[in-house]
Structure formats: C-alpha cells, structure tokens
C-alpha cells in the first residue's frame, strides 16, 4: 500500500513505458520522490531499476508516460535537461575527471570569475566550502585520482550540491566501499535528506537499504510491485516481492555443501609457494576432487591475485603448480585451460563478457578458443551448448542471438558460467561471481555451484559476501595484506568467527 504523505513530491513519474527491441523494459511504472526522504528502488537485475533511473536522468527517451518535476511536466531529451531540472546522479563508477584537481571537478562550469578570467583562489576556497559542508577536509588542489573511491564519491556529491541538485540519485554507491566509508557516506546522505533533498538510493545490500531508507519501491519484470514505508516492510516480504516467489531456502544449498571431502588422494590442483613481488607473498593452495575452497579476505588482500597467478592471468615469479600430481608450467591462461582450469574474473565487464558478440557466441568462446580458429564450432554444436545452458541456468531474455551487452549483470554472469562449464573444466575458479547481481540470480549461481561440486567439479570460490563463502565451501583460506594467513574448516566456523579471523588472526596461528 502506498503510504500517504503531506509533502508534495518533487518528482512524479506516471505510467512510464520504455520498450527495447524484444523487451518491454518498463511497463506503465509510477514512481515518486519526496523532498526530505531517502527512497530506495529495489528489484532484481532486469527488473527495470536502471532503465527507470535512465528515464529520470534523460539518458533514455520514454515511449509513454509523464515525468513531472515540482508539479510541472517535463520532457527530457538529454541528460542536460534533467540536470537543469535539478536532478543529479552519482554513479557506481565515479564519473568525474581523475586527472583534474578536486576543486576543478567540484566547480566545473561554475568557476568563480575575477577580473582576469577565472579566480582560482576563490574557486578552490568555494570548493572547499562545499566539501566541508559534507564533512570533508581536503586540499582542493590535490588531484582527484589520488583519493579513494569513497572520497571520490563524496566529491561527486559535492559537485551535485554545486549544481544545486534537488534530487540526488545514488546508483550502487556502496559497492566498492568498506564499512567505515559506508558510514561516512550515509552520514552525508542523511544530512542532505534533512536539508530537504530528495534522494533515490539503489543498492543490492539489503541491510544497507534498511539502514538508510525511509521509503522503498519494488519493481519486478519492468512493472511496479509496490511502494512501502521501509518501517512497514519486513525484509522477507521485500525479498518475496522482488523475486516473485518465496525465497528458496538458502539453507538447502548450505546442506548440500555440508559434506566431507576425501583429502587422502592426490589433489586436483596443488600450488606450492605461488607468489609474485608486489602482488602476493608465496602461498600454498590445494583443491581436491569435488571440493569447494573459499578464499576470504578484504579487497586487495591477495585473494584475486592468488587465483590470477594460478590461472596464468599474471605470471608467477615463484612457486610450482601440479595438476593431478604432475608438475606443470602455467604461463598464460591458455596453459591453464589446457590443464582443465577455468577462471571467471571479478571484472565482468572488463575481463568477462565480449559485449557486442551475442549470448551464443559468448557461450562458445571458451571452446572455440581451445580449438583454435581453424575448426569452427558448428551451428549444431553451438545450438547444443545454448540449449543445455540457457534453460539450466535460466538466462533471461531466452534469446541467444541478442548481444550479451543487452543483458543484465546477473544474466551476463550466467552466460560466463556457461562459457566455462562448456569447456568441461576440472577446476572452476569463480572470483566474485555474485557481485552486483540480484538476489534471485545469486541464489541460482550458488545452487549451481553446489550442484556441480556434488558431481565432482572442484571449485575455488571468492566472494566479499562471507555468508556465501561459508555456505558453499568446505574449507576456507584466509588472506590478509597479500599473504595467506590461515585455513579454516568451514563446518567449524561461523560468520563472526570468520570475520574475526580475517581481522585479527596472527601469522602462524593456522588452525585446521
């Protein structure tokens, strides 16, 4: 039930419809933003969140429906129109100029003018005043790129304030921030809300959504499911609305993974002293048949570096790798693939999908690369691969001939999973396979991993969401500061124990 409010909405979108070739991305959606409120937009990937935001920011033209700002109807032909109407956006990837100074970024286009052109001193002090308003004490003349992503995001918000934004859109702002940085960002957002700015917040972290939101709107398959006050909507009801069915008990996945692994034989892959200066101190790793080994640690702890060295994506300086007990040399991804190792990168867009190729072509890329260019994967073989995985992984839309770039993140991830499964690997390395994708797809991917490992596939699973690591893995290797610091039995440790270990374990206190 939409809860009523005394205040006039600053943005009112009614009956918004946007069609892409073959997909109705938004189907008559109503949405509103109220001054002094933080409003979260929730939905699975493909539900229409991004499309709605892009309609509101003038990136997409709407096919039907109306957008009213402050009561008067607007037509956004371009992003500049939306900005002029007081709507500003801070994206997940900061869209500022890394090589300009902080002050130049904040004040771009609004520099203070003196008698002889721009008065830089006044411009920078004005920038610092805006930054101070957000609790940031920075040298306005420092280069933007020298600051962390979290600070850059706050700078982007400062810029929005310079533009006199009445509506601030934050699209996944917390995905690459640590806990302390999230607190800082939330404090700023709350201040802005209290000063009367209407805030649209998008995040796939449910806890954060509940922590910050006053109001929640849920979309599913391009349609409005409901608008609620956050206080009136229990978390399980929200998830049920998002995925349209009762959330499958993730405990079931956990039960499947909760089994003993026979570690008496030869490990499928055994790495000894794998390391590279500046990347990773020499580390050991063993994976047995049908085992899921979790790598846990903070961003930059060395968990990604370890698997990249193992896969040959970066060349190790020290260490040895044995596959099925035989010592092998892995200097490039090709070698790794030839030895039955597959690796799905954490950077889906940059190192995973080939955006302009179709879903089907992306799926067969792994097998095709292995065969070389001369022996083309035939149409029939391609159809067989597509038929096997589209349905099994639930890829949407179910048309294999659209460019993969048109798919949502979760569906792209499923296609990448299919690419590797089609090569029939013995060891599958998944680096952050669930990052930035929706609850439903996350459950799908975890279920698939549990199912495959039951059938004997060995998996190295990396995730920032430690619950996932504990749910799927039988054994967890903890890394900190580019060093493997310990190994835990996943049955014997709970979430708090793991977090504690990541934060505090002393070198050498290896428990097993």
């Amino acid at each position: 039930m939409p809860a009523d409010t005394e205040v006039q909405p600053i943005v009112e979108m009614r009956g918004i419809t946007i069609a892409f070739p073959g997909v109705l991305a938004l189907d008559g959606v109503d949405f509103r933003l109220i001054p002094g409120e933080i409003h979260s937009l929730m939905g699975e990937n493909g539900a229409g969140k991004s499309t709605l935001i892009k309609a509101l920011t003038g990136v997409y033209a709407i096919d039907s429906g109306t957008i009213a700002v402050s009561g008067s109807e607007r037509r956004f032909e371009a992003t500049a129109d939306a900005q002029a109407a007081g709507i500003s956006t801070v994206y997940q990837e900061v869209n500022l100029c890394a090589n300009l100074s902080v002050g130049e970024n904040v004040m771009l286009g609004h520099e203070k003018r003196g008698r002889a052109g721009i008065d830089w001193r006044a411009t920078h002090s004005e920038a610092e005043r805006h930054l101070a308003g957000l609790g940031l004490r920075l040298d306005s003349r420092s280069e933007l790129g020298s600051h962390s992503i979290a600070i850059q995001q706050l700078i982007a918000i400062a810029r929005a304030m310079v533009l006199d934004a009445k509506v601030l859109i934050l699209d996944e702002p917390t995905s690459s921030l640590d806990r302390g940085e999230v607190e800082q960002l939330f404090a700023v957002i709350r201040d802005l809300r209290d000063s009367g700015v209407a805030i649209l917040f998008v995040s796939h972290f449910l806890d954060q959504v509940y922590e910050i939101s006053d109001r929640i709107t849920v979309l599913r398959n391009g349609q409005l499911v409901g608008e609620h006050l956050a206080a009136d909507l229990p978390k399980d009801a929200l998830v049920a609305e998002m995925i349209g069915r009762e959330l499958e008990d993730l405990a079931a996945i956990s039960d499947r993974a909760d089994r003993e692994i026979d570690r008496t034989g030869t490990p499928i892959v055994k790495a000894t002293g794998l390391g590279k200066r500046g990347m990773l101190e020499p580390a050991d790793l063993e994976v047995y048949d049908g085992e899921v080994v979790g790598l846990a640690g903070l961003l930059g702890s060395g968990r990604t570096e370890l698997v990249r060295l193992l896969y040959g994506a970066d060349r190790a300086e020290t260490g040895e790798v044995a596959v099925d007990g035989t010592s092998v040399r892995i200097h490039s991804p090709r070698h790794a693939i030839d030895h039955g190792i597959a690796f799905s990168s954490e950077d889906r867009r940059g190192e995973g999908v080939v955006a302009d190729l179709t879903v089907a072509e992306n799926m067969i890329l792994g097998i095709q690369a292995r065969r070389g260019w001369l022996r083309r994967v035939s149409k029939a073989e391609q159809d067989a691969v597509v038929a096997e995985y589209m349905e099994a992984l639930g890829v949407r839309p179910a048309d294999p001939h659209v460019p993969i770039g048109n798919l949502s993140g979760g569906n792209q991830q499923k296609v990448l999973l299919a690419r590797w499964l089609a090569t029939a690997p013995e060891l599958l390395i998944l680096d952050e396979p669930t990052r930035g994708i929706d609850v439903g797809a996350k459950a799908d991917i975890q279920r698939k991993v549990a199912e495959l490992s039951e059938k004997g596939l060995s998996v190295i699973f990396i995730s920032s969401e430690l619950e996932e690591v504990l749910r799927l893995a039988q054994r967890v290797i903890v890394l900190r500061d580019r060093k493997a610091v310990g190994e835990l039995d996943a049955h014997e440790v709970d979430l708090d124990g793991l977090v504690d270990y990541i934060a505090h374990s002393e070198e050498g206190s290896v428990s097993r």
């Binding site: 991305a25 699975e44 991004s50 490039s332 940059g350 080939v354 072509e361």
Partner: protein
C-alpha cells in the same frame, strides 16, 4: 521497417542514391555496350578500377576489426609494383608469361613479408598500430625508389598489361581478381572461427585473453592479410600504368580505404566488421569519383565536392541523426517509433 534497421541499409542507400544521381545527371552513365563480346561502359569501368582500393580496403577491414589501423598499404603497393616491374624489366624476355608469373608471385610475397613485419611490431612488440605502420608508410616509398634505382621503371609486357586491362569472357580480369579476394577472405573469416575470434579480440582483448583466445596470432594474421592484399593491389596498379612510380602508386589510398571501411559501417573502435559493407563502401568512393567527372565538377573544386558528399553520407549513417529524424517525425505525428539506437542496456 525492419530493413531500415539492417546494418547495411544506410551504406547501400547512399550508394544507390549516388548512382541514381549520376544517371539522372547524365543518362550515358548507366549505358553498357558490347564490343567483341566484351562489356564496356561506366559501370564496368567502376568495377574494374575499384580493384586496388577494394583489395586494400578488404585488408583494412580486418585490421580495423582488431582495433588496429594499417597506414602502410599505399607504400606496400609502391614496393610490390616496383618489385614486379623491376623483375620484368631485368628479364631478358619481358613478354613471356613465365617472367610475369614469377614477378607477380615475388611481388605478392614481398607484400606478405611487409605484412608480417607490421604484424610483428603490433602483436609481438606491442607498438601502437598507427605508429608501427607509420614506419613502413614513410620508409616504404624510399624502399621502392631503391628497388627501381630512383627512376620510374617502365616496361612493355603484354601478359603483365593483361592483368589490369584484360578481359575474361565478358568482364575485366581485375574485377574477377577482387571478387575472388572478397570470396576467399569471406570464407576464411566466416567459414572458420577467425572472424568471430577477430571480433572478440577487437571488442575486448583482455576478456578474450582470459577466455584462452590466442590474440597474438589473430592480430598478426590481420596485418599479414592486409600486406598480401596491398601487394596484389600494387601489382594491379602497376599493370594499369605499366610504370613503377614510387611516389604516386597507392598515394593516399590508406585514407580512402579507411573511408570505405567506415562508409561500410565498420566502426573504427574495432570489433564487429562487415565485408559486404566494405564492398559497398568502396563502390561508393568509386562512384563518387566518377560522379565528379560526370557532373563536370572543375578539378579545383573536386576535393571540396568529394568532402561535402562524404560528410552527407556519414551524417546519413549516424545513429544520432537517425534519432533526430525520428524525433522530428514524431513531432509531426508520423511514424511514432521508439528510439532504439543508442540503447545499450536492458539492465535494471
């Protein structure tokens, strides 16, 4: 309306428009006559004269698909022409078919070697393509001058002259050469996985590497193909003039080739490429050059006329212009259609 969305619709529309304008301006343009069982006329001349540009643009298409560019093709043409004519000139028997066959083979092999060199610099050493091929673009004509001893070598060899001006059945030999090249390259790219892997490398090199694609060989092969095709183009050009002119052979052809590739709808950003599009692009450039003659544009104004038409054709193909066109159409209440071109994502 589906046809409007086909990626080759606008390139083809531009070409057809150009041909129609030419025919209206001078009905003689489209006239084809038969003499001694052979076809003559402007359309035939276009088919024949487009051979060097077609071959070069074909190679350029592959190189551009890998995110590269090959500026050296004109210089390679000069070198291969110089090699062919010097061999014929030095031979005791310039009129023999054997001499000409040897000359052509050596010239094409020289093109191949130069392509290998370019590909080595780009794919193994990792030099940016524009710089790597610039080396040969600047040095190549000097090499050609060295081969000819600083002179414009002219020869008299009937079999060699036959390559550019001879007829096979009813159409020019040169036409058959480029058709064969288009067919061979198309088969090589689309019947094997080379085309898809080339696109993959061009779209996302790092993702391709991690997927196990041997991108070095794929990029290398594109430059080799470009070198071989430029070598053949040089042979045809020299056969047309029967003189090895190191300075004018293939002069600026790299830029016309890039233009033809782009007119055919292949993006300079690399990735998806269209050989059919390049064929249309080359025809467009050739038809435009003919139009300049036919419409009686004074030589002094020809470059400006050429540029204006190119700008119009490029604008016609721009997605943004299409969007404006639709927006204008919508305002006038006709053909209300959703804007689709610049939508990349159907994500939530």
């Amino acid at each position: 309306m589906r046809i409007l969305r086909h990626r080759l619709f606008w390139p083809a529309a531009a070409l057809v428009t150009l041909l129609v304008v030419n025919t209206i301006a001078n009905p003689n343009f489209a006239r084809i006559t038969i003499r001694d069982g052979q076809l003559y006329g402007n359309p035939i001349t276009i088919l024949r004269d487009s051979a060097p540009l077609m071959l070069v643009a074909l190679g350029m298409t592959l190189v551009i698909a890998t995110r590269g560019i090959d500026l050296s093709v004109g210089a390679i043409m000069a070198v291969s022409g110089a090699v062919a004519l010097t061999i014929i000139d030095d031979s005791p028997n310039p009129g023999s078919v054997g001499t000409v066959v040897v000359a052509v083979i050596v010239a094409v092999v020289v093109g191949l070697v130069l392509g290998v060199w370019n590909g080595f610099l780009v794919s193994v050493i990792g030099i940016q393509p524009i710089i790597a091929t610039l080396v040969l673009m600047l040095a190549g004509r000097g090499v050609a001058l060295l081969i000819t001893g600083g002179e414009i070598t002219t020869v008299n060899s009937a079999p060699y002259k036959f390559i550019a001006s001879g007829y096979l059945i009813i159409l020019p030999i040169a036409f058959f050469i480029w058709v064969a090249a288009v067919v061979v390259v198309s088969m090589l790219e689309r019947r094997t996985a080379l085309g898809m892997l080339t696109e993959s490398v061009g779209i996302n090199p790092e993702a391709s590497r991690l997927a196990g694609v041997r991108s070095r060989g794929i990029i290398w092969s594109a430059y080799i193909a470009s070198g071989v095709l430029a070598g053949i183009a040089g042979v045809i050009y020299a056969s047309n003039t029967m003189a090895a002119d190191a300075n004018s052979a293939g002069y600026l052809i790299e830029l016309y080739a890039i233009l033809a590739v782009v007119l055919g709808g292949t993006s300079l950003m690399g990735g998806k490429f269209s050989i059919a599009g390049t064929v249309i692009g080359v025809m467009t450039v050739q038809a435009l050059e003919k139009a300049i003659l036919f419409l009686g544009v004074p030589p002094a104004q020809a470059p400006v006329f050429f540029a204006v038409v190119v700008v119009v054709v490029v604008l016609l193909q721009a997605p943004r212009v299409h969007a404006w066109g639709r927006a204008a159409g919508r305002r006038m209440g006709v053909g209300a259609k959703p804007r689709t071109d610049d939508r990349k994502e159907v994500a939530a």
